[in-house]
């Protein structure tokens, strides 16, 4: 079973600060996804990265897939209270299924 680790587990910051969360594994993945989940709702897909070294930007969010396709990071610039939520990474090995990490719970205080 492929395992994903996410760090930090919890993060509480002030509005306007920058932050980076990480997703790591010892396995190589064909692709990796990042989701955000708000309380009482299902996860919502933010991005899919498929190429080693790939960088994708979504407004204030920057996603990077490691060169070896074993890790990924999510960087948020000038965090806002609306960024609060649980950030999950999900990695795909072979086939159509993904393995999810335990998540990073982010709280952005106004």
């Amino acid at each position: 079973t492929q395992l994903l680790e996410q760090s930090p587990q919890f993060l509480s910051i002030q509005e306007g600060e920058n932050l980076t969360v990480y997703c790591n594994s010892s396995s190589v993945f064909s692709s990796l996804q990042w989701y955000r989940q708000e309380p009482g709702e299902g996860p919502v897909l933010l991005v899919t990265v498929v190429t080693g070294g790939e960088v994708k930007k979504l407004k204030r969010l920057t996603f990077q897939f490691g060169d070896a396709r074993k890790d990924s990071s999510l960087h948020i610039t000038a965090a806002q209270p609306g960024d609060t939520g649980l950030y999950l990474c999900a990695a795909r090995g072979y086939g159509q299924n993904f393995v999810f990490g335990p998540g990073t719970r982010l709280s952005v205080l106004p």
Binding site: S31, G40, L45, V50, R92, Q96, N97, F98, F100, P102
Partner: protein
């Protein structure tokens, strides 16, 4: 938003009783998934379906069964519920392919007393 509904949204039941959760989609997506979410574990795959009457086990399938008789419906059954199956259950759908973007339903919170 993708058209995915789950029913019921909340359920409290007793140990040993059978429970069926329903996932319904209006997107005509090929793949459907059932996950459970527990603190510290993220989402764990229970079963998935890659077509009508085509299903396979996921990471935590013991104690669960599924059925898919129509493209739009995917049922998850707990034959005899146990307290360890208290969790939040999410259904997801996808079209497969290289990106395999999954769209999740709102979840069902199940409590087994």
């Amino acid at each position: 938003d993708a058209g995915i509904t789950q029913s019921p949204r909340h359920k409290v039941t007793e140990t040993g009783t059978p429970v069926t959760l329903r996932c319904h989609q209006t997107e005509n997506h090929r793949y459907m998934y059932w996950y459970r979410q527990d603190p510290g574990h993220g989402l764990r795959l229970i079963h998935y379906s890659y077509g009508v009457k085509d299903t396979d086990k996921g990471e935590v399938s013991d104690g669960y069964s599924v059925s898919r008789s129509k493209t739009e419906d995917f049922l998850l059954t707990l034959e005899s519920a146990t307290s360890s199956q208290t969790s939040v259950y999410f259904c997801a759908i996808s079209e497969g392919g290289p990106y395999n973007e999954q769209f999740f339903g709102p979840g069902t919170r199940l409590t087994v007393l």
